[in-house]
Amino acid sequence: MTVAATTLKYQIVNRRLGLWLFMVSESMIFLALLASRFYMQGTNRPAEVNQTLGLIITSILLLSSFTANRAEVAIAHGDRSSFLRLLLTTIGLGLVFLAGVVTIEWPEALHFAPPSTGYGTAFFALTGMHAFHVLTGVFILALAFLKGRRGGYTVDDHWGAEASIVYWHFVDVIWVFVYPTLYLVGS
């Protein structure tokens, strides 16, 4: 009876705070890995790092952030069909990003920076950990897509969609640090 009647809106604020705390906590993993990269290798970077590919996948992720933002605006205004279309685009871009990392970038990097070397360790650990977060992000977006298709979101209650999209932006924020650290810093 004390706080039995907490409103839905109240709970959504709770969950939003929870999600942000979770993201703060997750950032620490990347902070530790990024610090390790500099501790181990300073700003060393092999010349063979594929700059074109790095720029392309970065752009793909950036584009997916935009479509995710558009999807959120759509569902917040009750436009379900655009929401689903934009969310599907975001998921697709996420999968293209993953494919780029796993099937092109990794096999290349195995040649000039295998995981048994200092730079290779940092490279595979950072891109791997980030790819893992991309994968979970795609999974959560897919759950939101399924729920949206069932008509599970309304203008007032679309927390699941909002959460999955905020998490997707978080994945992008991580890449904002990983990309320059692995591709651009040093020489």
């Binding site: 604020v13 929870g18 705390l21 995981p115 360790t121 729920k147």
Partner: protein, 609 residues
């Protein structure tokens, strides 16, 4: 029921996961096979114990099943996936008291070994016993107070109905059994644990599958700790009853808030350090290979960046319990409440910049020594404030020397010694001599065992009537305290002296001239261990036939006493409205809580001392 289903699911999951790895060409019992098998085990275990039934079905558009309730499930609900914070608190309490006793029994084995210079166990087994004792006690110290007393009493103390995320709360508990299972299985495998609880490379990267299990157990435990911390922070920020301002928050709640902040942020670092070891082991990376730039020092930096704050995750709730209990049983307002809160926040602020004081002898860069010496000594300022607050509260109070109060005063004495001996570890010149000796072991146990575990016991004795609705025997409680306090000091003070005489830690054998003092320590250890028999006997008889406890047996002001013992399913039978400070004993016209709807509060019963 949950347990059996979880185990069955888990085993099936392990078979599927490891089978998949065999299919892609991994060898049997290879590291990738065991790791992937365990990930499948963990997910399947969680789904089996109730995550699927009560949670995940909703993700796929199915109807979630209801969780067990107070009325319909009786004692059985303690073995099920419950989302009631009181049930989860009891689950934590029983699990961690059991783990405390298990790791205590392992300590008895250690002392048995050290009765004689040559011992009875071979060094390998001794290392396994020592590592098990270490990691289990660390887990107990990190989670026992927060998980059990925090879970049970934070919502009550802030006038909430439950935690902010009840299902997440259950998840953080159900992540603990796999940790225990992994550790027990790992310790029985050939090779055992070689490297102590800190799992420094390269040793931890070289051991067999048993070391792999140790690493993933530690990692799983970290996950549980992070989830728990997150839940407490949201609960304390968002679920306070009307009128429960930050300035009226009971100090125990403040302490849980501070500890949760630390575990939310810093636990990820130990998780990453362990993950890096796993990556080195399982996929052949080179984080801690000395010739690739990282090396063991990198591990130590990341590891202690968590593990120093971790000691505050352990001790801050202890401080909270200390001040809470001392204020209530001195029947005085908490002296300098704002300074107490400031001190706890100050410890949180400083805790992230002191870690390298564990590494003065590690071979790190010399220029790091002085700054870390300075920052470490700064921490004695907020810690000193906590002591000032406690002493100021006791000063001229009407002390009621109940069992919880005795344990709190014991904490005060022990931690004073623990704190003062810490100065010699923080000073690099003395630390160079003292490091790696029993001086460190004695100091550490004075702070955590003499501090947090004493506080934990104080908390158990303090809230036992509320949790169970029964009264324990005060006489037996005081007997437990008496034996434990004396034996404790006879155990750990000589340990520090032995350290000064050159007794190294982490050793299975020692020079014969140290035999006398070691024998003395061992005997004191056995007495300390036996004092827990009094505790168990007292609790068990009280549970079965103790007198029925009133709602508020000691006439205290805080919210948890203003409801029945044990509290009803949603904690309060009236709408809570807070209108005053929790500790204003003897202040005219001051109340902490007034029923807002005019419903009667539970009648206060006469003192049951």
């Amino acid at each position: 029921m949950s347990w059996i289903k979880g185990l069955l699911f888990g085993i099936v999951g392990f078979v599927i996961g490891s089978g998949l790895m065999l299919l892609v060409g991994q060898r049997r019992a290879s590291e990738p096979m065991v790791t992937v098998g365990y990930i499948f085990f963990l997910v399947a275990w969680l789904l089996g114990v109730g995550v699927w039934d009560h949670w995940a079905r909703g993700w796929f558009g199915l109807e979630n099943k209801p969780t067990p309730t107070f009325k319909s499930h009786g004692v059985a609900r303690y073995f099920a996936f419950s989302t009631d914070h009181k049930v989860i608190g009891v689950q934590y309490l029983v699990t961690f008291v059991a783990l405390l006793l298990l790791a205590g029994a392992l300590a008895m084995v250690i002392r048995l070994q050290l009765l004689q210079p040559t011992g009875i166990l071979d060094p390998q087994t001794y290392n396994t016993v020592m590592s098990m004792h270490g990691i289990i006690m660390i887990a107990v110290a990190v989670a026992a107070v927060i998980g059990s007393l925090g879970n049970y009493f934070v919502p009550l103390l802030i006038g909430a109905e439950d935690m902010a995320f009840p299902r997440l709360n259950a998840l953080s508990y159900w992540l603990v059994p796999p940790v225990a299972i992994l550790l027990v299985v790992g310790s029985l495998l050939p090779g055992g644990f070689t490297s102590g609880w800190r799992v420094y490379p390269p040793l931890a990267e070289r051991g067999g599958i048993s070391m792999l299990l140790f690493l993933i157990a530690f990692l799983t435990f970290g996950l549980s700790s992070i989830i728990g911390g997150l839940n407490f922070i949201v609960t304390i920020i968002r679920m306070r009853a009307p009128g429960m301002t930050w300035g009226r928050l009971p100090i125990f709640v403040w302490s849980i808030f501070c500890a949760s902040l630390l575990s939310l942020i810093f636990t990820q670092f130990v998780a990453t350090a362990l993950l890096m070891e796993l990556l080195d082991r399982v996929v052949g990376m080179a984080f801690f290979a000395p010739d690739q730039g990282g090396g063991a020092i990198l591990y130590q930096h990341i590891f202690w960046f968590y593990s120093h704050p971790a000691v505050y995750v352990m001790i801050i709730p202890g401080f909270g319990l200390l001040m809470e209990i001392v204020a209530h049983f001195s029947r005085k307002p908490l002296f300098g409440y704002k300074y107490a809160v400031g001190a706890l926040l100050g410890i949180v602020g400083l805790s992230g910049i002191v870690w390298a004081h564990h590494m003065f002898t590690s071979g790190m860069q010399d220029f790091l020594t002085a700054p870390f010496m300075l920052s470490t000594e700064l921490i004695s300022i907020p810690t000193g404030l906590v002591f000032l607050v406690t002493l100021g509260t006791i000063w001229q109070g009407k002390l009621r020397l109940t069992t919880p109060m005795l344990f709190a005063l014991g904490f005060l004495f022990n931690f004073t010694i623990g704190g003062l001996t810490g100065i010699f570890n923080a000073d690099a010149p003395t630390d160079l001599q003292l490091h790696n000796t029993y001086w460190i072991v004695g100091h550490f146990h004075y702070t955590i065992m003499g501090g947090e575990i004493f506080a934990f016991l104080a908390g158990i004795y303090y809230w036992f009537p509320k949790i169970t609705g029964r009264l324990y025997s005060e006489r037996l409680g005081k007997l437990h305290f008496g034996i434990m306090f004396v034996a404790f000091n006879l155990l750990y003070a000589p340990m520090m002296i032995a350290g000064l005489y050159g007794m190294n830690r982490h050793v299975a054998t020692y020079p014969p001239e140290l035999n006398g003092i070691n024998m003395f320590i061992s005997i004191a250890g056995f007495v300390l261990g036996s004092s827990f028999l009094v505790f168990i006997y007292n609790m068990a008889t009280a549970l079965r036939r103790g007198a029925v406890a009133a709602a508020n047996p000691w006439q205290l002001r805080t919210l948890e006493w203003q409801t029945s013992s044990p509290p009803p399913e949603h904690n309060f039978s009236y709408a809570v409205r807070v209108n005053g400070h929790p500790y204003d004993y003897g202040v005219d016209d001051s109340t902490h809580v007034a029923p807002a709807t005019g419903a009667p509060m539970p009648a206060a019963a006469p003192a049951a001392e």
